[in-house]
């Protein structure tokens, strides 16, 4: 659990982060969204003390983050940044081993952990371990960057626009990987992004920042349904709202009784994808199948349209 209490950061007279308080539940993803200059990155960097706050405290699992020397604190917190920041003079395996090495793990344990992470990120340890970062594609570099951040099994992972430099197709894949890995390790993730779509997709809760202030901190559905200010509303994008709302739900939750003709939609697909599929096929309904391939019922355009309406 991360408790941020009345955190303020001032540079000279300019207040970059203004009296922000929020609590991030363990094993959840919190997305901090805002325009550039909103203070979101500064807020993130105060958690691992790359920036020292002017006032206020941040507690990790109840312990003030100033009770340790800053470098020791940072070794216990994963940190992944835009453009990965891999060390170009070190191999992939050495890059991932950075924090375990600083913590003094023995070689066997480090090698084991590096192999485990590479396999988890679908990179063959024998092929990729000895390569240098410039020999990898952008998507692979990004995965190694996240693997490095997770190497010492941190409870908390900070991510600053981790997918910003990726093209849209690889970005979607990277986001899915992140969700899978978050489930696998149960890591608490705080992710900074300027992309509301990404925040809605990844965040269990979304914090919207504007001009150094925390404007709203709520579940994605609530941000979409009840934006706290016109700024949040603009950020959500009024024309995108219904589709973003649908993207939060799974097809399995909108199944109706009956049957339909056509290509079956998997129950774990998002309702937004299902609606797109329905509209494109020109049919009023399509069958739904479970993970085991069994028919569960059907999903209809009418049913989804009702779900996309603003919640009362």
């Amino acid at each position: 659990m991360i408790e941020i209490e009345n955190i303020t950061k001032r540079y000279d007279k300019q207040t970059v982060v203004n009296d922000v308080s929020m609590v991030i539940e363990p094993r959840t993803i919190a997305a901090i969204v805002g325009t550039s200059g909103s203070g979101k990155t500064t807020l993130l960097r105060m958690i691992n003390r790359l920036v020292e706050p002017t006032s206020g405290t941040i507690k990790l699992d109840g312990v003030d983050n100033h009770s340790l020397p800053d470098y020791e604190l940072r070794r216990s917190i994963g940190y992944a940044i835009q453009g990965h920041g891999l060390f170009p003079h070190r191999t992939v395996a050495q890059n991932i081993a950075t924090v375990p090495l600083l913590l003094g793990w023995d070689k066997e344990r480090i090698d084991e952990r590096v192999d485990e992470l590479l396999r988890l990120f679908q990179l063959d340890p024998a092929a990729f371990g000895p390569r240098y970062p410039h020999e990898l594609s952008g998507g692979q570099q990004q995965r190694v960057g996240v693997a490095r951040a997770l190497a010492a099994k941190p409870n908390v992972l900070l991510m600053d626009e981790p997918f910003g430099a990726l093209d849209p197709i690889i970005r979607t894949k990277a986001q899915e990987d992140l969700l899978a890995i978050q489930k696998h390790f149960g890591t608490t993730i705080i992710l900074v992004t300027h992309d509301m779509e990404e925040a809605v997709h990844l965040g269990h809760k979304i914090a919207v920042m504007d001009g150094g202030r925390l404007v709203q901190y709520a579940k994605p559905a609530e941000i979409l349904a009840k934006p706290a200010s016109s700024f949040v509303e603009t950020l959500v994008g009024s024309s995108e709202r219904p589709f973003r709302l649908l993207s939060l739900g799974r097809v399995g939750d909108a199944v109706e009784k009956g049957s339909a003709e056509g290509e079956a939609i998997p129950a774990d697909a998002s309702q937004r994808d299902a609606l797109a599929e329905l509209l494109w096929s020109g049919k009023p309904a399509l069958p739904v199948r479970g993970a085991d391939g069994k028919a569960l019922g059907r999903i209809t355009v009418d049913g989804l349209v009702k779900l996309a309406a603003r919640p009362a």
Binding site: N48, L50, Y71, E72, L73, R74, R75, S76, Y79, I81, Q82, G83, H84, G85, L86, F87, P88, H89, T98, V99, L102, Y132, P133, H134, E135, R148, L158
Partner: protein, 249 residues
Amino acid sequence: MKLVLPAALRVVLLVLLVAFIVNPGWFEPLFKPLTENNAPAIYNQGSLLSLTLQHLGTVAVATIAAIIVAIGLAILVTRPFGAEFLPLSRSLVNIGQTFPPVAVLALAVPAVGFGEKPTLIALFLYGLLPIFENALTGLTTLPANVVEAARGAGMTNGQKLLRVELPLSLPVILAGIRLSVVISLATATIGSTVAAKTLGEVIIAGLISNNLAFVVQGGLIVAGLAVFIYDGLMALERVAARRMGQAVR
């Protein structure tokens, strides 16, 4: 093919250079036409081999001292607590470069006497600037997100310097050392005017006795050494740069 020819040429030249230094007598017929009045064609007032080794030794000592001081200074002024010293150390190092080595020799002799020492002082001062400026460039133009990642991973300032900043600026620092070494190799010859044992002795002996063969011998050896040391350091730089996926200049 493109690579074989220069490599073969280098090997041949290196063999010739070593053979000449070790046994210059073999090359007497080549230098004979450069002499007049039956003067000796090959330097005969000492061994070329020992002069070459002393020349290289002097350059090595002066360069190593310059490397230590210049890189140390560059590290100091790129730390937060040393940033204030940047303009000061820049001027100091620039003054070292502005003073002609001959002037340094003239000033140093009364202070430290004739021989090796004034030459070492002149070479040291003259060699500081390229190493310092390159180290400074290397340490201040590191990719920001890589340095940030080092800090974010929990490296202490010392670990960040030794494990990330210095290795990453190595190619640029090596380029500075290469420049400095080549300049020192040539400049060391004038050390012989104040009785330092360098290849300058051969050239000066030639100038005094109006023997062109001596001048050419001394000059050729210094030039050959400079070319091969330049080449060797260049190859080192390439290895360092390629490991980082940087373009090879």
